[in-house]
């Protein structure tokens, strides 16, 4: 992409968005304040932090964990993180023997309610195509060398079902509080491209 230091004009995309938004506002189909609230929520408030809190709760509360794995949508909803896209969230548990990796091969379906908006690489064709064909190769590029005796499972999201990986609780964290544990959880560990090391 080319950088234009002179910002004296609006780009084609900016003009198209302004046209769309002003028409929709004129017709009463969208409310500018509601749009601002959505942007603020997804950019600043959700991030991957909601997902990290879900994971930390599952690590410290065995009953919650069982509920989460049985009915991810309801368990996550109970913490106040509700999907507005009507998609179910299925939670996948990583263990010593199973590593889960999530992708959306069609576009970029993603559990926004818990992870915010997806990173650029998640939306890219190379990731979308290679995660299925060569998951171990992709994981290696993310610095994760998965042992041969660990099964790698790849889950392809759809408009109806999104996946959230429940990473393994790192060793040496027995004394940590739920809040401190949440700080350890990375976005990528919940997509499945990262494994959490020792704390």
């Amino acid at each position: 992409m080319t950088d234009h230091p002179d910002h004296s004009h609006l780009s084609d995309s900016e003009l198209r968005v302004r046209a769309l938004e002003s028409l929709l506002v004129d017709k009463g189909l969208v409310d500018p304040a509601a749009l601002d609230a959505i942007v603020d929520t997804y950019e600043n408030k959700v991030g991957p932090r909601n997902g990290a809190r879900v994971v930390a709760r599952a690590w410290v509360d065995a009953d919650f964990k069982q509920w989460l794995l049985r009915d991810g949508t309801a368990a996550i909803d109970s913490l106040g993180y509700t999907s507005t896209q009507g998609a179910d969230i299925v939670v996948l548990e990583n263990t010593a023997k199973v590593h889960n990796l999530t992708v959306c091969t069609l576009c970029s379906c993603y559990p926004w309610a818990v992870l915010g908006l997806p990173p650029a690489w998640y939306k890219s064709f190379p990731y979308r195509s290679r995660a299925v064909k060569d998951p171990r190769g992709v994981l290696l590029e993310f610095g994760q060398d998965i042992a041969d005796d660990v099964e790698v499972r790849v889950w392809d999201s759809t408009a109806e079902v999104r996946y959230l990986v429940l990473p393994e609780r790192p060793a040496g964290t027995a004394d940590m509080t739920e809040d401190a544990l949440a700080e350890l959880v990375t976005r990528n560990s919940m997509i499945g491209t990262d494994r959490l090391g020792e704390a």
Partner: protein, 123 residues
Amino acid sequence: MSSEQNLPTAAELPSMPRDEDGPVFAEPWQAQAFAMTLSLHEQGHFTWPEWAERLSQVITAAQADGDPDRGDTYYLHWLKALETLVAEKGLLTGDDLIRRKDAWERATLATPHGQPIVLPSEG
């Protein structure tokens, strides 16, 4: 939290953008397009599967046209999908969009640098 986020193989992988925590929206218009879609969906103008299907159609067509599809063109596809879906749902027409875009372009050209661009009301 991310003390061990070294990605030594990044240079070997020009095809897979792997930014760790870049901005979720590269430019404000992307955020506006995203928010309009969510808002229209929440008000029941289309279902989420309808939206996902339209978006994946646009992405597939762009790939067929040679888009390397590395994630940076994602919101261009998103915007195109939204424009076609709102027209298909009868919320507004393609002509409406073209006329309004022309009006914004004229307003932009008539606005001195540094001042907010305001659309004159249509007579």
